[in-house]
Point group: C2
């Protein structure tokens, strides 16, 4: 054999591409990990955690919600949601009012401060997405979005 298979000494092994091509699940996970890291870095710079951002965005879009609803719709575990709301409340971006209809649940409500913070954070999202997905053309991003949507069963 020309390209010997001894102890894989200093060979510029590029096994990963093969793996990614054969194992769609692995490709998906590795891509996600890379993007998630980028998102966390971006969020750290911005000073607003990814989860916190999503919560503010949803509250702004659909109005006051219970933590339960936030958890389900954002796909964030409820025990994690507690901490996110703690931080947002402490920062004054949300209020936790008891829901008079059902005092087990809160009615988490976004404040003006929260709306301002959200608006501020929103401005940097497009640039972040542009950067994180820059190997893909806008059309390809659309395709990816559609495929993931189908996989997640959101369109059903």
């Amino acid at each position: 054999m020309a390209t010997t298979t001894r102890t894989a000494e200093r060979m510029r092994v590029t096994y990963f591409p093969r793996l990614a091509a054969e194992r769609l699940d692995i490709a998906l996970c590795r891509a996600s990990a890379a993007v998630a890291r980028a998102a966390d870095d971006h969020a750290a710079e911005e000073g607003l955690g990814v989860g916190q951002h999503l919560v503010l965005q949803m509250l702004d879009a659909v109005g006051p919600c219970s933590q339960q609803t936030l958890s389900e719709e954002l796909r964030i575990d409820r025990s994690v949601m507690v901490g996110i709301c703690d931080d947002l409340e402490q920062a004054g971006h949300v209020r936790r009012e008891r829901n008079p209809r059902d005092r087990r649940s809160y009615a988490v409500t976004i404040t003006d401060s929260g709306r301002r913070r959200l608006a501020e954070a929103q401005t940097s999202i497009p640039a972040f997405l542009e950067d994180a997905f820059n190997p893909l053309t806008p059309e390809e991003r659309g395709q990816l979005s559609a495929l993931l949507g189908k996989l997640l069963g959101t369109g059903a």
Copy 2:
């Protein structure tokens, strides 16, 4: 408004689709989480961890490797690779021989036992993939694979 926006009482809020459509990064992460969970469940049934499977597969494909090389090509942190190789070695599926050329590194080598175990585990992979990605047609899976490959920079 017809669909009131009070306290989002018992409304079948479906905010997630909107989120997934706007935030490609979130869609990617959530899809990955779901698939990763399915993969872990499958691996648990099979009795061979995902990482262990990948290591055996790579060793079988490219020959003996250092843990370093395995880590880099499989995108698994080196400190995690230690445990994976520990388990595989204890199960008799790999041997850790010191590389005489560089005694800092190992030459991790797959054994016959490992090859048999790998062959056994491989048989259930297609069915797993079929199940995990069943919302997508074969053609769409191909598209997704291509897009992820491009995003991961494997083709470059």
